[in-house]
Symmetry: C2
Subunit: 186 residues, 2 copies
DNA sequence: CCATCCTGCGACACCACTGTCGCATTTAGC
DNA sequence: GCTAAATGCGACAGTGGTGTCGCAGGATGG
């Protein structure tokens, strides 16, 4: 249990496998047991507990890891021309994350008391983006910001969900972008 | 435990209270315990078990009750002029149901093996409606039916969710209708 | 080749939820 | 007022998930 430094080799691989398994399983059923996750990760329950002492630790780690991926993904994007373009880039990045996004957003108040989940931060940034998009003329005045935000997450979540089953990922992303833009357009 | 006839008086009232409590609690957290529901319904856990022998029985009853309400609501609507109007009426009826809709649709595969949940039926009817709407010219050819269906449920769910917190119910319904129509319009 | 790391296995106590009782108390209908 | 229905309370055993051990086998790297 090193304090914080990034693990290497086998340790890092196992850790990732468990995180991936947790995302995949919990995306569909957050009440799934740790045994189910261990099984999916193809490790024993003991090993899982060696990496994450208790359920909460795994939840936190997955939350952190997923948020970090979100950051990484939209850092790699080119400088956006407008607020709406920024929203589009976030959306595409999110859809590409698949299970992680479903885990993050399937239950809006799943992480309510969690110190790593600054709902205010993300929400404030999101509302600010929406307001910018509104002054740019990409969002109609009649659309309440809270609706635009909720719809945005719903579309993101839906695209991630659909791209696990019916549609190829890029198409789902395109549809999500198109749906959101047209929904809120003046 | 009468076979099926509708209960009256006190029995009917208590039964409804439990169903309402279950919808309200499970809409937010389906893993919530029966104690939590009994508490919300202001009955003892014993009483709850007198009406619904086990957890599954309560789930089934709530599922049935919620589906029945859906039927009732859109039976009361006037004859729609078009497939898209029908979709709109369903949408408004759904939003009006609040917690029941959230319970029904928050997890797409919650009722997978349930005999009362004919996912095929509802899904087939929905897809048929979408196809009609498409031939009517309300849905662009480029929109896959599966996306239209997913988006429809997402918008319904989101409006029900939002009308529990930020926006008045009728406004949420209006926004949901508007968002869906514009998203899929040619 | 040896020491160390990583892992699996099985056992254990613990706890929350569940479903079932019996009995006492309150409520409602006649 | 009396009877029957409806409810609350507390106890109970059963169950499944959780977190912790110790030990043994296998992989890894010097």
């Amino acid at each position: 249990m090193t304090t914080e430094q990034t693990e290497r080799g086998a340790r890092a691989r196992t850790r990732q496998a468990v995180l991936d398994a947790a995302a995949s399983v919990w995306a569909r059923d957050f009440s799934a047991s740790l045994s189910a996750i261990a099984e999916r990760a193809e490790v024993s329950r003991s090993t899982l507990h060696r990496y994450f002492t208790d359920r909460q630790a795994l939840v936190d780690a997955l939350l952190l890891d997923s948020l970090a991926r979100l950051e990484t993904l939209d850092d790699g994007a080119s400088a956006p021309a407008s607020a709406m373009d920024t929203l589009e880039q976030y959306l595409r990045a999110g859809v590409a994350m698949g299970d992680r996004v479903i885990f993050l957003f399937s239950d809006p108040n799943r992480f309510d008391g969690n110190p790593h989940w600054s709902a205010e931060d993300g929400d404030d940034e999101m509302r600010a983006l929406m307001d910018s998009a509104r002054t740019e003329g990409s969002i109609a005045p009649g659309i309440p910001t809270s609706w635009a935000v909720s719809l945005y997450y719903a579309v993101l979540y839906t695209a991630a969900e659909v791209s696990n089953q019916d549609l190829p990922r890029h198409l789902a992303a395109d549809l999500a972008v198109q749906s959101f833009r047209r929904s809120v357009a003046p």
